[in-house]
């Protein structure tokens, strides 16, 4: 099978930017199909982190010396890049966090404790990652509030009519994922947000799987909170962004106390810093922040619209290739879908599929993908998931299909 996909950029040239892709695994060329777990890092990101450690390393924000000024400038520049990336009004609305999980926990803990009371309701969806379930569950338990769940259909699409019925004057928060990590579904978050606002609820969008693959405009979406993980956007691990509307963030109490989040400290009273620093206690992941800036530059250099278009082509190609395999069932067939191919094979457990593929150099994820309720809904204990990024090729999908042929050979 030869590739019929013609991307708007040179994929082979792009692959040159990712040193990790140029290796063999168990004697076979690496085929990395696990970008929904973490994306690989281009040399530009690795170099930015190295330059910080080799040339500019200092703590940020308070030093008057040259290195501290350099590192502060580089770190804060990432905030400006994040502003452009998400199109927020101001950099003061962007909080550095460890990742999406911390972003959600920050909101659940700070906004949630202040605003959610006994009898209130929080709405999430049936396809959430555990990170957008558990923090709200903890909050509900603490406050005596109720967690409501938007159901989905057989394709793995949220049922908006049912969602509408869940909304009522007790609904305080609607927290929904932009793109499902286990199914690939792209949710109509603009509509979901508008419906929540009509009911007087605040919204949080989990952008972990969306940010690397499509342009996000928080003002156009009218999201109250939007959070992403740097490492899924070809940046380093341990850094992410939480966007929040200034009015909400200003009214919220700090999440953690410590250095950098204060104006004046006495033993009697502490005055907190203005946004965004009020939510950034302690020395942050400076290297990670600087690496994330390089990652934003890198994906912007290719263009998120071109990335989205190419990945869609890969998805179509991959869906066709997998559909030809007898006994294989794709889990998650939403009409609006990101490049995630989650599937099960009759009589063969995903772990065995994953091991056999690994021995052929193919990296996929197997298991529940931190979305056990999704697995329960589809009545499967686990799936095998191939998740694609702009550095993947049609030839790699062919390799996956051939690898699954080997799987069938062993187990049938």
């Amino acid at each position: 099978m030869t590739s019929v996909i013609a991307p708007a950029f040179d994929v082979e040239k792009i692959r040159e930017d990712f040193p990790v892709l140029k290796q063999t695994i168990h004697g076979k060329p690496l085929v990395y199909l696990d970008s929904a777990a973490t994306a690989q890092k281009p040399t530009a990101v690795v170099d930015a982190i190295r330059k910080f450690h080799e040339v500019d390393c200092a703590n940020i924000h308070r030093g008057v010396h040259e290195l501290s000024q350099r590192s502060t400038a580089a770190y804060e520049e990432t905030r400006s890049k994040a502003r452009q990336f998400l199109n927020s009004k101001s950099t003061s609305e962007l909080i550095f966090v460890r990742g999406t999980t911390e972003g959600i926990n920050l909101v659940a803990s700070s906004w949630g404790r202040q605003n959610v009371k006994e009898g209130d309701e929080i709405v999430i969806s049936a396809m959430e990652h555990h990170s957008n379930i558990v923090p709200w569950q903890m909050l509900c338990e603490e406050k005596g509030a109720k967690l409501r769940v938007i159901p989905m259909n057989d394709r793995g699409e949220l049922i908006l009519e049912e969602y509408e019925k869940l909304l009522n004057p007790r609904t305080r928060m609607v927290a929904v994922t932009h793109v499902s990590n286990a199914l690939g579904t792209i949710n109509p978050v603009k509509e979901i947000i508008a419906m929540a606002h009509k009911a007087g609820a605040v919204t949080l969008i989990d952008g972990a799987q969306a940010a690397p693959h499509r342009a996000v405009d928080v003002q156009d979406l009218d999201a109250d909170f939007y959070t992403l993980s740097g490492h899924k956007v070809v940046g380093p691990t341990g850094i992410g962004i939480l966007y929040g509307k200034a009015a909400l963030l200003n009214a919220m109490p700090p999440y953690q106390g410590g250095g950098d989040m204060i104006k004046v400290v006495t033993f009697e009273k502490t005055t907190y810093a203005d946004l965004p620093y009020k939510f950034e206690a302690g020395t942050p992941n400076i290297a990670g922040g600087i690496g994330l800036g390089a990652a934003f530059d890198y994906v912007n250099g290719i263009g998120l619209d071109k990335i989205a278009a190419y990945e869609h082509e890969l998805l179509v190609y991959g869906t066709e290739a997998l559909s030809r395999i007898p006994g294989l069932r794709i889990i998650g067939t939403a009409r609006e879908k990101a490049a995630v191919l989650s599937f099960v094979m009759e009589g063969i457990h995903p772990h065995d599929i994953g091991t056999v593929l690994d021995r052929q150099g193919i990296a996929v994820r197997t298991g529940h993908h931190c979305a056990q309720p999704v697995m329960d809904w589809f009545h499967v204990p686990a799936t095998t998931r191939a998740s694609l990024a702009f550095y993947n090729t049609a030839a790699e999908i062919d390799a996956l299909a051939a690898g699954l042929g080997k799987v069938k050979e062993i187990f049938s």
Partner: protein, 147 residues
């Protein structure tokens, strides 16, 4: 190669597991769970005094965990509690250390390939963790993540 892991005996026991049924008159029962992959196992043991008279299991899992449960239940019959626990230790060593393979493991040596696949050790040990829990009479389901 991957065939070292999926030897014929393992494939046979995963496709046609032995002792794969519930047991009404079992006097020891335990549940095992591997939260990493979602594999679940129910183990039934019938003790006659100190001796394992019969053992069976129910569950859904990968080829390795199913074959392991199948071969384990076969190997347990007639063993005393102490012998069963000793076998567990030997089996664990087989999977997690480089010690030479000992003969007294019988058919269980077929799992020696697992030691080259660290991510799969817990698949092979799930049934054995559950066995320990059953013999200890634990009330809570045992998880592979508590070791």
């Amino acid at each position: 190669m991957v065939d070292d892991l999926y030897q014929d005996l393992i494939l046979d026991h995963s496709k046609h597991p032995r002792n794969c049924h519930a047991m009404d008159d079992a006097n020891r029962k335990a549940e095992g769970y591997n939260p990493l992959c979602g594999d679940k196992l129910k183990l039934f043991v019938k003790m006659d005094g100190d001796v394992v008279k019969d053992a069976s299991f129910l569950g859904s899992g990968c080829a390795i965990s199913t074959a392991s449960a199948s071969l384990m239940t076969e190997s347990l019959k007639g063993k005393t509690r102490d012998q069963a626990l000793k076998l567990l230790d030997k089996f664990h060593n087989l999977l997690t250390t480089d010690t030479p393979v000992t003969k007294d493991l019988g058919k269980l040596v077929v799992f020696c390939g697992v030691r080259d696949y660290p991510a799969r050790v817990k698949c092979a040990t799930l049934a054995w963790h559950t066995l320990k829990s059953a013999l200890d009479g634990a009330a809570e389901p045992v998880s592979t993540e508590t070791e």
